[in-house]
């Protein structure tokens, strides 16, 4: 009993210490006079984290849009309201599935890569040698990746939604024969830019920050061994997936007036 209590105490202390280190990392990397000279580093990271994630994002977006169209049509056609297919698919994609699924894909595709890269830099003393050269790795390595996630993920999420809607249109209009005018006009009528699209963008901004933060911290805090990096990469994907789904619930709760 006492042992368990002690374990609980240890565990909580560890948790708080880790959170503290993660917060400090974020603070030191982002909130101290960001230097303009590092713009090219950020652009480079946006390319590596964002542009190179495009293929997986676009392919998943198309598939999910197509599936939503198939399933949505099956249900809607029972009530003769298949013309609302465009509205339904667009709302679901823009508000929920776009930001969430692209964040999950981003965590798997880019987050794990960031963790492994930074963890290996730590293992091979590249971070230490950078420090000894008077270059702060938090600014040189960590900050550009955090900013890149902040910019890249919202754009990826929007592309995901756009391609998803296109996939739904291909399936719904071209194949299942939903009236094209109805498909697009209900969407135009029902989707509000500020109320729906921007709230989705806000979600993906938050997800982008959280996922890259977790990825960068896990790499930076990794035990510098092979097992340490393996564990850190796993934690990145697990933690950021859970964080995205839980945060999504609370963001939806607060932003959509329940």
């Amino acid at each position: 009993m006492l042992g368990r209590l002690r374990n609980l105490g240890h565990y909580s202390l560890d948790l708080f210490a880790t959170l503290g280190r993660a917060g400090r990392l974020w603070w030191l990397a982002i909130f101290r006079r960001p230097s303009l000279g590092n713009v090219s580093l950020v652009v480079n990271q946006i390319y590596r984290l964002g542009v190179l994630s495009l293929v997986i994002t676009v392919m998943s977006g198309f598939s999910i849009g197509a599936v939503l169209a198939l399933q949505g049509y099956n249900q809607l056609v029972k009530y003769g309201s298949e013309s609302a297919l465009g509205l339904g698919v667009a709302l679901v994609l823009v508000m929920e599935i776009g930001p969430v699924v692209s964040a999950l894909l981003f965590a798997g595709r880019a987050g794990s890569a960031v963790t492994a890269e930074i963890g290996l830099m730590k293992t091979t003393e590249q971070l230490a040698s950078m420090e000894m050269m008077g270059v702060d790795p938090l600014r040189r390595i960590v900050a550009p990746r955090l900013w890149a996630g902040f910019f890249a993920l919202p754009i990826l999420a929007l592309m995901f939604s756009v391609v998803g809607i296109w996939g739904a249109a291909v399936i719904g209009v071209e194949w299942l024969g939903v009236h094209e005018g109805a498909f697009w006009s209900t969407m135009q009528e029902g989707v509000d830019f500020v109320h729906h699209v921007m709230k989705g963008v806000i979600k993906s901004v938050v997800f982008g920050l959280v996922v890259t933060w977790i990825a960068v911290f896990q790499g930076y805090d990794a035990v510098p061994t092979s097992e340490g990096i393996a564990a850190a990469t796993t934690r990145t994907v697990v933690f950021s997936s859970v964080a995205v789904l839980v945060l999504d619930f609370f963001l939806t709760l607060t932003m959509f007036n329940f």
Binding site: T124, E125, Q126, A128, S129, E131, M132, M133, G134, R140
Partner: protein, 328 residues
Amino acid sequence: MVSADYLQGKRMNSGVMAGMMIAFGLFLLKPCINSMSDNTMSEDTATDVYDDTVTDDVVVLEDVVYRRGKKTIFNGVSLTIPRGKTVAMMGPSGTGKTTLLRLIGGQLTPDSGRVIVNGQDINAITRDELFELRRDMGMLFQSGALFTDLSVFENVAFPMRVHTDLSEDFIRDLVLIKLQSVGLRGASSLFPSELSGGMQRRVALARAMALDPQILMYDEPFSGLDPIAMGVIVQLIRRVADVYGSTSIVVSHDIQETASIADYIYVLSDGRVIGEGKPDDLRQNTSPRIQQFIKGDSDGPVPFHYPAPDYSEELLAENLKLGWFSFE
């Protein structure tokens, strides 16, 4: 040659810096010049041998205690490293020689005691001041620690690009001078993964020297090098110290090579300084621990074995449990 501002770690006028670096590059070619014309430049520029009147200490450790977990790595180490000297830290593996360099570089914080570099307590200054101070330090890591995503050329150019406003042409010339001095100018377009361990070490040395730092720290610079590369590095470390007047801290357990370049040697063991002196004095030292280390005897006061229970007792012990298995 070294301005007061530079000592304070302030950013130098890049023109001055460029001039100094070119001058330094030319000095590295000195052997060629010497061989062509028999001048006596080396006598003018070389620093004197270790001199007791020196008062200007670059690095001072005051009663440093450092623990890792329950293990005490340093138990009250005090030492001073005078400006412009080559000081070696020697000792058996596992005595925390690398840890010592990290303490001096401010990457680790001692549990008690002070580490003073260039007159500043390295654990009392802000993070920004620490990074400012580190611009005057160069460190050669045992593994080289080259940036694997950059070519050899870019690795050496990295500190110059970050810390100076020099033009691209100028950086190119400087990098080629540095690479020439370690004999790897021809490898400038290769990537670290294409180099052997010894070559990586030489590139790392060129990078550590890139900004001609006041303090150069070498972590095991001789281990794993072929005899030719070793000779080159030994000469290079000595020449950098003599010509540029930088302070060198060499961590090593290669007695011959280290003794040939060091002005002063500290011998570390069991978390303490067990002996110190000029190389010749140390050879005369009668302490059995130091003699054992210098002669390389496996048996002596410094134990070869990690602390363990009695050998025969452990082998013959009944019910010895190894992992999940037990031998009854």
